[in-house]
């Protein structure tokens, strides 16, 4: 074969990869529509408040690790205390904060050190003290003070101290809808064909939203450009991607910001992996692996398409870069650790479809994209680019991407309709066109950077700082008004 033949083979490979990727996206769109239909049918008329008077209801521990959160921690805990449920406890894990996080909580909630016993099923950094309030209004609040060990370590400490059947792992700075737990618990009670081992929910972007007393009172489209791009990205990821995989019972990730798990199952697999920066993905993959290898029962990881949790996303280039870099390192770490699942029929649909999808279209995508760019420049240098073919294919890719994004926007409007008005729609269309040239290439670069960090640099386990603006400022403003 001469060089031109090799080029031709490469051309075909790139084209086939792109078509496969599009086929997966189309498949996602169809599956998510079916899943949403199923979910709406089942839950449209459900009175979730009735759960509060149920006889047989699983008990829940809400575990929220906190690190240097002194500015917002009180508002965040107040928000958690407002959650509607019958039998729950809130465990705040102060993960060796360097600021006054612990003292702020202790003072505000009138906490005292208690001798609360617990079994160390999972390894974690030493717990220095456990606090509970003498004020009965906060009697289901427990605060653990421990040495710094990272998010996974803090969650493991929280799981050790918790005593309930389920635990909800959340980011302490998230805003949870009051009925979120009621909705998340339902799948654990309404499926008698599968054992439900975990459930996840949709995360929405809270930047620019109005927040009063730890509640979203008015949803606004973010003002910051980076946050706007992420709104569309989250639509695609949650509304289309995760719902589609949920329909097939092939969901591999439950967001670390908001996920409900069976404590018993998580204890059996040894809790969160402290060495992983993608601990949320890793936990679900390991849980699934355990269910296939050990328990061999019919099981399900459920997903709730209702917007139940609101989070602040990065508003600047640096923080966004760090976040994406970490996500990539987490994904690579998990994929490598569980590589034996790849196209392994022993793991059923997970091994044959979900896991390969992660490998081929999440892990490899930025690399292939980058190689494609280099290859194109090479062809251009050698004068081997057929401009007609190039433009046709570019247009093909761009139009598909636009169609997929607008479908995600339509889907949101059709289902939850949180963003309203022509202004929002006009902005969104502009962003859909822009993101292909700005946001997506940047994401590719961030992701490649994550690859490089993972393979060649030392900071493969580092989280990096996530500087949040915090919601409390707005809250205080609202309170003063």
């Amino acid at each position: 074969m001469n060089l031109l033949d090799w080029f031709s083979v490469l051309n075909n490979l790139f084209f086939i990869y792109a078509c496969m990727l599009f086929a997966v996206y189309l498949f996602n769109a169809v599956m998510s529509v079916l899943e949403l239909r199923k979910y709406t049918k089942k839950n449209k008329f459900v009175d979730y408040k009735s759960i509060l008077s149920f006889e047989k209801l699983p008990s829940v521990s809400i575990i929220a690790p906190a690190f240097n959160e002194e500015k917002t921690i009180i508002e965040n805990i107040k928000c958690l205390l407002n959650i509607q449920y019958q039998n729950f406890e809130i465990i705040i894990v102060n993960d060796g904060s360097k600021d006054n996080t612990l003292q702020t909580i202790v003072n505000y909630f009138n906490l005292v050190k208690v001798n609360r016993a617990f079994e160390s099923h999972l390894t974690s950094q030493p717990i220095k003290a456990i606090y509970q309030s003498r004020n009965s209004a906060f009697n289901h609040l427990i605060v653990i003070d421990k040495e710094n060990g990272g998010k996974a370590d803090a969650l493991n400490a929280g799981i050790n101290v918790s005593q309930n059947q389920l635990f909800l792992a959340i980011d302490v700075d998230c805003i949870i809808e009051p009925d979120a737990l009621l909705k998340m618990v339902k799948p654990f009670m309404d499926d008698n064909k599968h054992e439900v081992i975990a459930s996840g929910g949709v995360i929405r972007i809270a930047n620019s939203c109005e927040i009063t007393n730890g509640r979203i009172t008015q949803v606004h489209y973010p003002k910051n450009l980076w946050a706007k791009f992420q709104v569309i990205e989250y639509f695609r990821a949650f509304t289309l991607g995760r719902m589609a995989w949920s329909n097939l019972n092939g969901l591999l990730i439950i967001s670390g910001a908001f996920g409900l798990f069976s404590r018993e199952k998580v204890l059996k697999i040894g809790g969160y992996d402290k060495n992983s920066v993608g601990e949320d993905l890793e936990l679900v993959v390991r849980l699934r692996r355990y269910m296939h290898e050990v328990e061999k029962k019919k099981y399900r990881v459920a997903f709730i398409p209702d917007p139940l949790c609101w989070t602040e996303v990065p508003e600047n280039f640096k923080v966004l870069k760090r976040q994406r870099n970490r996500w990539t390192r987490g994904a690579i770490d998990t994929i490598l650790k569980h590589r034996r699942m790849f196209f392994n029929p022993k793991y059923g649909l997970i091994g044959m479809l979900s896991f390969p999808n992660w490998v081929l279209f999440e892990w490899l995508a930025p690399i292939i994209e980058f190689i494609g760019l280099i290859y194109f420049l090479l062809l251009l240098y050698f004068g081997l680019v057929n401009m007609h073919v190039f433009l046709t294919l570019t247009l093909f890719v761009l139009t598909f991407s636009m169609m997929y994004s607008i479908f995600a926007v339509f889907f949101e409007a059709f289902t939850y309709h949180k963003y309203k008005g022509i202004n929002y729609l006009a902005q969104t269309i502009g962003l859909i066109l822009m993101e292909m040239f700005i946001y997506q290439p940047l994401n590719m670069i961030f992701s490649l950077n994550g690859h490089l960090d993972f393979y060649f640099r030392k900071n493969k386990k580092s989280w990096g700082e996530m500087n949040r603006k915090g919601f409390s400022k707005k809250t205080n403003e609202n309170n003063n008004n």
Partner: protein
Amino acid sequence: MIALNKHLKIWSIRLFFLSQIIIVGFGSYFYKHPQVNLGSITIVNPYYAQIATHSKDIPDWLYTVDYFTFIFVLSFGIILFMTIYYNTNKNIKEKNDKKSIEIYIRNIFTFLYPIEEYSESQIQQQLKDLKKIALTNHQRELLINTLRKIHSQTTGKVREKTDYLMGELKYGGFIKAYLHSPYFNDKLFALKVIADFQIPGFEKHILILTKKRNEVLHSEAIITLLKLKIYDSLLFLVDLKMRLTVWDINVIIKIVQELKIVNIDYQTLINSEIPEISTLGIMLARLNNRIDFKSEIQNKIGNSNDLVNEEACIAFSYFSGNENDYDFVIEKFELATEKAQFQFINKIASINNKEKAIKFLDWVIENQSFTQKVQALIFLLDLDIIGMNKYKESNNPLIRQSYYQVIDINI
């Protein structure tokens, strides 16, 4: 007529989508052929000449890419239009619905809380007015839903008036049409209305729905039959084709308690071979304090199904009251689920035979799980505060920790 229209609507939507698929499929074949022969009919492609000129220098695959690009652009346009339409329409619809509901509430409240005494003819006129402002199916749905909400939030005479109002609106035909509608949401709506206003006459059809494989319809039909209070024995549950979920069990119990259903056939339910039905029977017997079924419940302890075993243990410990029962509970302790074991500890700790209780609690502290140790120590604190001090220096660190927790938090 409403049901027929609904059937026609659903079929026309299906036909529309089918026709779109056929058009795209046919179009992708047709665009590169000069003509297509369908039997005796020949369809000529008027754009063939232009397409052929345009495509003669490019390979087939690239032309297919072109074709798909066109489809994507078209789809983008259509979805965008739908998004704008839906967004705008939803906003307008929300506003209109809000306005309509306000009017309905005003009218309903005039009827429910009259300022003056109305004559029969005036009442009839009010009813006529109410019917006049709800002409379309959607408006009727809104009106009925508003009435349902008021019905659920009121009691006594006002609630009776909402029942009367619902009857006088004479929406029987409308509800029947919805119950037979091919749309799932319509069926659910009808079931909700029938259940809330306890409208008779649909029992047979609802009983058929309980045997449907659709889990939501199945559950809703069960709730409706329960609320209609015509199958008080609950025996219809034994004949269901689908198994109940824990959710269903909770909902059924809630309704039974709210409506104070008393003629339940506990015997058959408890002894049912279906674990969920048996669980339901046991739970209902416990909640309704039917101690006469204690021996049936006792037989279910150790059942291979966790749900049945757990509820049987809880119910039995609730009913137990003599030495034999306590001995039985102690004997079966290890067979029980964790939740039931807690119940056992609670029960034994509160018996009159203090010596037996302390002996049992000591055994739990030495041999059972950490959370049970803590629970047993809490009881021991009341029964034998001096005796429990021996755990202060226990060799087992978990017992020591539990001891200090109990001393610290519970004193």
